[in-house]
């Protein structure tokens, strides 16, 4: 509350639209016209920031022409490819609007979807869109489903991290630094930090449906990020609960195996000392202790840096203000 009141002094813009341009883009003029018309129809004023991720053959001239025609466009161009999150970070840094609206440089959502998002913009700090994949190609739908399941497993409720359409209140970026690829999980991180987040299911654009979207390596990266974020969200406070469980599992396996070996020695008289399986027993035991030790180190890290202010956010403190106080 207080933060937004303070920012009112410097802000004139309602919405800063940040559009990262990487490998995939549609006709710039069409995209821009569509976005501009949708936003002005909702009665908000906006600035547009295109961040071009070093794509040499991107028609910057068209954008510059629009800019010369007096359109509120800012163009940032990277000299080489730095990735989408670098684009977003740079875009956010140059923006001045109260809300920052991330839009892709291609049609990802169907007609009217963005207007719908804009109408919900003031209800929450973060409004995330999620594509309704009804008309998508089979493979994309399967992948979307697989990803959703995975996300749920990791504890993420916002299950279309590939959908770039998001509206984010400026105050969110004061607390959540945009790092590496974590921006995909911005809705989840924002929720962990106590911001209000809503997710809208919006129709997918026809041109987006049925398109193979990324290289295979990208999926792997996203999975790793998902695990990292899921872990942070769940076990940030008590890492030993996670590592201790895994370690205990390994030690338990080892003990069971040892029991089996002892049983064989007693019953079938197989000598214990020179059995290779014994090495596995000890290996599992060592592994278990190692994993548990990593968990303890993680606990120590949290203990040593914990001044106790990181894990909760106070919105406000209400108290009686008397004259003599």
């Amino acid at each position: 509350m207080i933060a937004s009141a303070k920012l009112d002094l410097v802000e004139t813009m309602d919405v800063s639209v940040v559009i990262p341009v990487s490998r995939r883009y549609d006709d710039v003029r069409r995209i821009y016209a569509e976005y501009r018309d949708t936003i002005s129809a909702s009665g908000k004023n906006a600035e547009f920031i295109f961040v071009i991720d070093g794509q040499r053959d991107f028609p910057v001239a068209a954008l510059e022409q629009l800019r010369e025609e007096g359109e509120p466009i800012e163009i940032i161009r990277f000299s080489r490819e730095f990735g989408e999150s670098a684009c977003l970070r740079e875009g956010v840094r140059r923006s001045s609007g109260r809300h920052i609206l991330f839009l892709p440089a291609y049609f990802q959502l169907g007609r009217g979807a963005i207007a719908q998002l804009l109408s919900h913009m003031n209800e929450a700090d973060v409004v995330a869109a999620r594509r309704d994949r009804q008309s998508d190609a089979m493979f994309n739908r399967m992948r979307g489903w697989g990803f959703q399941t995975m996300a749920r497993f990791a504890g993420a409720k916002y299950d279309d991290p590939g959908c770039m359409v998001r509206s984010v209140h400026r105050s969110v970026f004061d607390e959540i630094p945009m790092q590496d690829e974590k921006q995909r999980f911005l809705p989840l991180l924002a929720e962990v930090h106590g911001f209000k987040v809503i997710q809208l299911t919006l129709p997918q654009a026809e041109s987006d449906a049925g398109r193979p979207q990324h290289r295979l390596g990208v999926y792997f990266d996203v999975m790793m990020d998902l695990l990292a974020v899921g872990f942070l969200v769940r076990f940030m406070q008590r890492p030993f609960r996670f590592f201790g469980t895994v370690g205990a599992g390994s030690i338990l396996c080892s003990l069971l195996l040892m029991g089996f070996l002892l049983f064989q020695r007693q019953v079938s008289n197989v000598p214990l000392g020179d059995r290779p399986l014994l090495v596995l027993v000890v290996l599992l035991l060592v592994l278990g202790i190692q994993i548990a030790a990593i968990g303890l180190i993680a606990e120590i890290v949290i203990f040593t840096r914990g001044d106790g202010k990181q894990h909760y956010r106070i919105e406000k403190i209400v108290e009686h203000v008397s004259g003599d106080a």
């Binding site: 609960r241 000392g273 000890v282 202790i289 606990e299 040593t304 106790g308 909760y312 209400v318």
Partner: protein, 311 residues
């Protein structure tokens, strides 16, 4: 400046806020020391905050800390404690199961020279299974921590603020506060308190899983020994494992010929000891980068020194 701060975390307690305020006010009407009440709204989804804020208009002794989201009971307690101004801090539940009429008594015990006073709900008014789980957890805790606290789960506690503001409070640490304080050298008293069944709302506790408590105890014990001697926390483990390794290698050598599996085992154990030594060094590095590690180790001595000065 006030003498006593009463910290109450609230989560979805709209029906209880007013009753709680009345109960505290009437119980402490004849209470000589000055007091304040710090209510912490842990991101309630109902009207808890509005009702509490309305009370502030009428009672200047009330302060409300509102969280932006729901961060759990430990966080709420920690925030309340950090924002309390009293020399003595009393914590209690917001669901009226604790009785504010016990407050003068437990505060009296602090004045009598204890650093921490823990309530003991002898006649607990909860479901049978919940009481059972809690009893088992308490006895495990007593055994593993080496500190017998009858009822760690009782929220009605009083602390000297210099003690509680220095204890680590995150995760679900609030459960271990009595044991932690005791291990730090604080003087602990336990006193029987009244306990009422819930009037409004539903209980927000699931059955605390004993297994989680056990994992937490292991990590807290390690943290304690780390705080005392940052480098030395895995020392027993390292010595034991090195011995195991040496014995295994000796056994491999002593037989007729070299027993390869046994040798491999010996090397494995020795490598583990080396790794643990590495972790110990990492621990030392972390400790030297941070200023608040030694604070805990010296807490006990400081508590008793302060007490003599203040008295």
């Amino acid at each position: 400046m006030v003498d006593v701060s009463i910290v109450v975390p609230l989560y979805n307690e709209e029906d209880n806020v007013q009753l709680l305020h009345e109960a505290i006010s009437s119980a402490l009407a004849d209470f000589a020391p000055s007091y304040e009440v710090v209510l912490v709204d842990d991101g309630s989804r109902d009207r808890t905050f509005d009702r509490a804020a309305a009370l502030v208009e009428r009672d200047a002794r009330l302060r409300i800390v509102k969280f932006r989201g729901n961060y759990g009971q430990t966080a709420a307690m920690a925030a309340g404690i950090q924002n309390a101004r009293g020399d003595i801090i009393v914590t209690m539940d917001g669901d009226l199961q604790n009785d504010p009429r016990d407050i003068p008594r437990i505060v009296g015990l602090i004045d009598a020279g204890h650093d921490i006073v823990v309530g003991w709900r002898r006649k607990r008014q909860d479901g049978g299974l919940r009481v059972f789980v809690s009893k088992v957890a308490n006895s495990i805790m007593a055994r593993l921590m080496g500190v017998a606290v009858r009822d760690s789960g009782c929220s009605l506690k009083a602390f000297r603020s210099i003690l509680i503001k220095r204890l680590p409070m995150y995760g679900e640490m609030h459960r271990f506060i009595p044991a932690l304080s005791r291990l730090a050298g604080a003087r602990l008293a336990q006193v029987e308190v009244r306990h009422h069944p819930r009037q409004f709302g539903v209980s927000k506790y699931g059955f605390s899983r004993i297994y989680k408590v056990m994992l937490d105890i292991v990590s807290i014990r390690i943290l304690l020994s780390f705080a005392r001697r940052p480098m030395a926390w895995p020392r027993h483990l390292i010595v034991g494992i090195m011995l195991l390794g040496l014995i295994a290698i000796a056994a491999a050598m002593l037989g007729k010929g070299l027993a390869l599996p046994m040798l491999a085992i010996g090397v494995l154990w020795l490598s583990l000891a080396l790794f643990l030594l590495g972790w110990a060094v990492i621990g030392q590095m972390l400790a030297s980068l941070s200023s608040n590690v030694s604070g805990y180790a010296t807490l006990g001595a400081q508590l008793s020194a302060d007490f003599k000065k203040g008295d």
